[in-house]
Amino acid sequence: MINWTLFKQEIKNNYRLTIIFVFILILYTAIIIAMYDPQFASSLEQMSQSMPEIFAAFGMANISTNLTEFLINYLYGFLYLIFPIVFIILVTNNLIVKYVDKGSMSYLLATPNKRSKIIANQAMVALFLSFIIIIFLTLFCIIIGEILFPGDMDIKGLILVNIGLFGLWTFIASLSFLSACVFNESRKSIGISVGIIIYSILVQMLSQFNDKLDFLKYLTPLSLFNSLEILKGDMKYILLFILLYLVSVGFYFIGIKVFKRKDLSL
């Protein structure tokens, strides 16, 4: 499934981009942790009470009682979703779409490796780099949280939620992978995956905006990850994020199958 020569080369090609995204996300996380201060939290709370719909749309509807909940409220609904999505799309573009579109894929396929191995390798690189990001984020949250507000963090809960969050990222990665495997032109493969993702985000926002629109959550895959319920340890929501992992495996499987058989005009 992995060709180490190619794997290492791709890490080399994409590590700068990964560092930039780790940096951006850590910066935002630092800002949010710094904002965790009983007084400031209450002023944010007042703000959220004055315009509950807007806050709800960005997934910040709940009043937090500890640092973990506070982070989940202000990071997991939007920032931890949007930036990783952009990262995953850029990386998938670098790893697959560009090669197929420009024709350099022919060099990779002219080596004694099965197509399925080459393409699976590229998928693993994207997942590995996303995994690096979530490891950095988790460690950063725990370390900075413990330094600034010792004992105020539900570390086990945070790790569990992050496992769920990574399920969501994996799902997005598998979706853009599938799209990259099916379509030969970058215009199409990026367009379709970005389209589906934007649709999912908008529907998710609408469903949180208003109780009457709550049914919309059944129309977006993003609602399979509910960070606050996972933090509470609700088994149903843990099973839902496991479902995200399973669907992702399915997408990867289909993507590899399609890529193995298709005509490549390289």
Partner: protein, 296 residues
């Protein structure tokens, strides 16, 4: 023994594009030229051999293995030079060579140095900064470094200067001595003439002919453009030499002639000439002249 076998391959892209019922074989140790105008289906045929596309009909095999299903095994014996070159442009030339060598499992790097020297390639600079000719040299080094027993070269000398084109011909002749099997497409007559044993000619997606190069050499026609001193002389010339099939345009007479040049020069000496130009017909022109009749 036939190493490369293409049997009745059809790939119809609609609107007359694609290849239709293409068949030919390349024997072990043979250098086969692959000719045809742009858009004739050369690249589509080559893609089948590389296992990049599935034929709708027919089979393509290399060493009796199916080109699509066994592409990974075939690639151990096969080196490929793409017609349109696109690398991993964030690498330097040397990084790219080492990367592909590792991917291909090439341990012995002696051919890398040999061909880098022969093509006078400085591969130490970033691919982004390379000129078209340098990129072509890099692609050639990468294709040749494997020293594979079978090679498929798609327009190997495009973008190279005449000196390097000659050097390439020398290399192919040397590979031929060592018994390599090569299928190469080209637009340059000299290259094909000097290196190939046979040629396969494709037009509008169909094989028009598979022919020995020797036979074609004999039929080599050359265009002569002769400018006479005056229109009178011009007219006299045409009148006195009806068998030359001369065409006249603004005092300039064009003749296609394949016989001994001395005979022609002796005839021309009788007239007062201002200028004489000799054009070798392009390969496609040449071949289409012979086989075009059946097509129309």
């Amino acid at each position: 023994m036939d190493i490369i076998k293409i049997n009745n391959i059809t790939k119809d892209y609609g609107g007359g594009r694609g290849i239709f019922d293409v068949s030919f074989c390349v024997k072990k140790g043979e250098i086969m030229g692959f000719l045809g105008p742009n858009g004739a289906g050369k690249t589509t045929t080559i893609r089948h051999l590389l296992g990049l596309i599935n034929p709708q009909n027919g089979t393509a095999t290399i060493k009796d293995m199916d080109c699509f299903k066994s592409a990974d095994i075939i690639s151990k014996y096969l080196a490929y030079l793409p017609g349109e070159i696109s690398f991993f442009d964030n690498m330097s030339g040397n990084e790219f060579i080492n990367f592909i060598a590792k991917m291909k499992g090439i341990v012995d790097m002696k051919y890398v140095d040999l061909y880098k020297d022969k093509f006078e390639l400085d591969a130490n600079i970033s691919i982004k900064k390379m000129s078209k000719g340098m990129k072509q040299k890099l692609a050639l080094v990468v294709a040749l470094m494997q020293d594979a027993e079978i090679m498929i070269l798609d327009e190997p000398t495009s973008g190279l200067d005449p000196l390097m084109q000659n050097r390439f011909v020398e290399i192919v002749l040397e590979l031929k001595k060592r018994g390599k099997t090569i299928l190469m497409s080209s637009h340059i007559f000299e290259e094909i003439e000097k290196t190939c044993d046979r040629v396969v000619i494709i037009k509008n997606g169909k094989v028009v002919a598979v022919e020995n190069v020797d036979k074609l050499k004999h039929n080599k026609e050359i265009n002569y453009e002769i400018e006479f001193e005056s229109e009178e002389i011009c007219k006299v010339f045409i009148k006195e030499n009806p068998d030359l099939n001369a065409k006249i345009r603004n005092k300039i007479v064009t003749i296609s002639y394949s016989n001994d040049i001395n005979t022609l020069l002796k005839i021309l000496l009788k007239y007062s000439i201002k200028d004489l130009n000799v054009y070798q017909k392009s390969l496609e022109e040449l071949f289409m002249h012979f086989y075009g009749g059946e097509q129309k």
